[in-house]
Structure formats: structure tokens, C-alpha cells
């Protein structure tokens, strides 16, 4: 019987952003390391002028090339060792709010999704993934959803709060509708809400800042 790991992660690398095209290249995230006042170092991405954390939540019990998907064979070998037949891959960067700029969001989602599709194409029967949608631009989100469905995605990644809306907000209903006149088949794909929120401090309860 197949064992399915329903929640595995990839750690994004600079390679993730190699799929940015044209003018979107100006939004390419830049990795930096900061010496913190505590004496420790902390790793960030610079995205749209903001420091975005989350590059330190890394399982040291996995090989770098494996967690960053630089070597798919290494990842598959490790999956074999731990008895996992299929992994459903979720992002790491997008666990937190990344940008409040719809253009940056669209560019990063597109690049991340194409990186993931490339990974899937190398082990279609072992690696599936959750698509990251540019939810600030709903028409583009639907395009991305359809594209991802044809490229190995088996779920839609969502955070507990998205684009300053709770997930029961009608804002998200369009996601489930087939556009009028579309010849594209209906997409059957689950929505997977994960335990993070997508709100920046300008719109988020400052009370919850620095909780993780």
C-alpha cells in the first residue's frame, strides 16, 4: 500500500526565481543574512523592499540538496528510506505575507509554480504539489489554477487569512466557478488551508506580531 505524505515542504532557493520573465525580473527576491543584536545570524529574502523571514525554519535532518529540490534523486532516495511513496509539496516562503503589491505577488507565484512544475515533471508519480495563487488578482489566480492543474498540482495552498479576508469571504467564491464560455474543463482541486496568515502589520493585529 502506498504511503502519502500529505504535508511536505520545499525550501525555496535562488533557483526558484529563475522562472521570472521580462519586466517581472525586477521583483526577483534577494537573499540576505543579518547579524542580529542577539549575536545570532538570521536569513531573509528582500522582497519589494521588505525583509521577509522564514529562511531559518529548516529541518536539519534533511540534506540541503534534498530539501531545496536541487537533486530530485536525493529526495526520492530519502523518501524511499522513510517509506514514503508520494509527497505533496507545500512552500516555505509563502507561509507568511510576502508582499501587498499585486504585481509582485503575481510574478512570484508564477515563478514559484513553474519551478514546482519542473520538479514534478522529473518524478510525476512521486511528487505532487500545492499551487500558490496570486489571490490579489483573482482573474490571474484562475489562470494560474488551470495551468497548475495541468502540471501536477493537486491542491491550492491557502493561509488562514488571505488578502485581508477570512476564507469564508465571498471574495474567494470566484475561485470555484468556471468562467462563462470557457472551454477549459472544470478544475477539481482541494483548497488546503495552512496554519499561517497573510496579513501585513498595516492591516494585522499588532497584538499578534512576533508570534510564530
Amino acid at each position: 500500500m502506498l504511503s502519502i505524505d500529505a504535508d511536505a515542504h520545499v525550501i525555496e532557493t535562488e533557483k526558484t526565481w529563475d522562472y521570472l520573465e521580462g519586466s517581472d525580473c525586477r521583483y526577483r527576491p534577494v537573499p540576505i543574512t543579518v547579524d542580529m543584536p542577539s549575536g545570532k545570524t538570521q536569513n531573509f529574502w528582500i522582497i519589494g523592499g521588505r525583509l521577509i523571514g522564514g529562511r531559518d525554519n529548516i529541518g536539519q535532518d534533511t540534506a540541503k540538496e534534498s530539501r531545496e529540490m536541487a537533486n530530485i534523486d536525493s529526495r526520492l532516495k530519502h523518501m524511499d528510506e522513510i517509506g514514503t511513496g508520494v509527497q505533496v509539496l507545500y512552500p516555505t516562503l509563502f507561509l507568511r505575507p510576502v508582499t501587498d503589491n499585486p504585481r509582485i505577488e503575481l510574478a512570484l507565484c508564477r515563478s514559484y509554480n513553474r519551478w514546482m512544475a519542473d520538479i514534478w515533471s522529473k518524478a510525476k508519480d512521486r511528487l505532487r504539489w500545492a499551487v500558490q495563487l496570486p489571490l490579489m488578482t483573482m482573474d490571474k489566480a484562475l489562470d494560474e489554477l488551470r495551468w497548475a492543474h495541468g502540471n501536477g498540482a493537486c491542491a491550492v495552498f491557502m493561509r488562514g487569512i488571505e488578502t485581508n479576508h477570512t476564507l469564508h469571504d465571498p471574495y474567494f467564491f470566484l475561485c470555484t466557478k468556471k468562467p462563462a464560455g470557457s472551454t477549459f474543463p472544470s478544475v477539481f482541486i482541494p483548497v488546503s488551508a495552512i496554519s499561517q496568515s497573510m496579513r501585513f502589520s498595516t492591516g494585522s493585529p499588532s497584538a499578534w506580531r512576533s508570534s510564530s
Binding site: 485581508n164 477570512t166 469564508h168 492591516g203 494585522s204 493585529p205 499588532s206 497584538a207 499578534w208 508570534s211
Partner: protein
Amino acid sequence: MPIIDADAHVIENESAWDYMLESERQFRPRIVGATNGDPAVDYWFIDGRLIPRSNVEKTLPEAARNMSDLSIRIKHMDELSIDIQVIYPTIFIFPTARRPEADLALCRSYNRWMADIVKQAPDRFRWVVVPPLLNMERVFEELNFGKEHGACGVYLRGLEADRRLSDSYFFPLYDAASKLDLPICVHSANGSIESHDFFLDEPGFCKFKLAVVGAFHSLVNDGIPERFPQLRIGIIEVSAQWIPYAIHDLARRHVRRGKQLSKNVLKDKRVWVTCQTDDDLEYILGYAGEDTLVIGTDYGHSDNASEIEALRKLRREGNLTPQVINKILDDNPRALYAL
């Protein structure tokens, strides 16, 4: 054996604001309704905000709900076999004031109103004092007033002053509560305007209950019980079903930091939690232990946690041993509130 209702309410009426100073009258809450008389539209208007007045159990006599005639309330308590009720506010379940001066005026008046009510039957009623948290320099004075007038706890919401409860902003409060032997009682409620209003159209689980579960997690995870070793903590009106989840999460986080969470974390951290009769109590006791659960009726309210017969039902229908039931009804609330 006395039976203690660890979570009962008063429904404030306009006399709650009669204690405001002349200089504070501008902040006096006003009852507002629809001009067409629609009874569904019923609010307090406070400091520019509307606070619902709808969470009221209307089958109870009004004089019992607002405690304007204690004989009616006490007669009902006798019928319910309740010896002591610990009274929590209703209006302060919501974030009430934006301005410190309004916050102070509301808290001061409410606390003096409650002191006047409770002194009429101090052997049957105790109450939780509401601290003016936008005026930290006035908090000790207000807690001290409460302590001298029958208060047995300090009322807190899951988020206060747009901060988590483990924020160092609250350390003077915890110091004062410790010195006065008053527990902080974190009630299903939210004092953050931003957080409350974000969840405005949801029924209360996210904006009230999850805020309180999060407060418990923050307080323990950030070491507040160790920093204030005399401080007792009550977690009120969010059922007890969340205890296994939160403790399990805390234990894993401790391990990741190379620490060990104690086996009886609630007792060791001096945390008590109100349970409901429909909680899976046998399962919860495995995490909470026998010495940390209390129970309340939510008297006066009509919401997801209200159960006027809760205390009698626990004794009559509960699958727990008499020893555990006695602890939940008497020993544990007595320890929490230092009664």
C-alpha cells in the same frame, strides 16, 4: 459542600455609569436603538463605537440579570444549588474604549457599581475587577479598590490594548495582581479593536475564543508564570476541549528548545480552566489533572457557552468520580479565586 459558579455575568444597565465623575460624564455610554423600534437593533454607544446588547438570556428576570434586586437572583441561585457566583461583566467582552480617559471612566464606574452591588450579599457574590489597561499607572489603585471591595480576580480579554498578554507592557499589572493575591482571569473576549473588527462578521469563535486560547499559549510559552511565581491564571468560558491541543503544541516547542514541559503543566503554572458539561472530561483530565478545572453557568448570557444547569448537571450526569466533581465545583474555584 459549597458549590461555586466560576463564571456568571451581570448585564449592565444605565446605573452602572452613575459612578462617573462629573468630568467623565462625556464618556457615559448611551443605549441606542432603531428609530423604527426594531428590537433587534439594541446597542451601547461608547466612545464612538457600538457595542451589542443582544447576548442576554431573556428567560431570566431582568432584575436578576442586572442585579438590581439581589433577592430574585439569590432565590434563583438557591433553586440551582449555587452557593457563590463569581460575577463577570458583559459590556467589556468587547473592546470598549479607544481613548485612555474613556477607558478609565468606564472601568472606574463599573467597578464602583459592582462593589456597591456585591456588598449587599458578600457571602453569595464575588466579582472580577476590570483594570483600566490604557492607563497602566492607575491599574494598581483600581485593583486595590477591587480587592478591598470583594473582588476575587482581575478581568482580562484574550488580547488587550492591541497586545498579546505576554507583552512586557502588562508586567506592572501582573506584579500588582500577585501582590494583591488576585488571579488574572482571561475571559472569552477581545480587547483589541483591530483584531475584533477584522472578525466582526464571524460568530465569536475567532474573535473571542481563539484569542483566549492564544493568550494561554503566549503566557505559558513566554514564561510569564515563572516570571511572576505568585500569579494565578484563570482561562474562562472557552470550554476545555482545547487543552490537549495547546499543551501538545507547547510540549513540542519546549522540546525544540531543549526544554521539558512538566507533566502537570496547568497545576505547575497555576492555571485553572472553566470546562463545560459536554466537554470530553475524561480525556481532558488526562492533560489538565484533577486540580485545575472549574465550571460556570455563564448566568445571564445566551450563547454557545451558556448552561444554567451546568453545575447540577455535572453532579447528576457526569461520569466523573465524586472526588473529581467536588474539586471542580468547590476546591478548584476556591483555589483559583482564593475564596
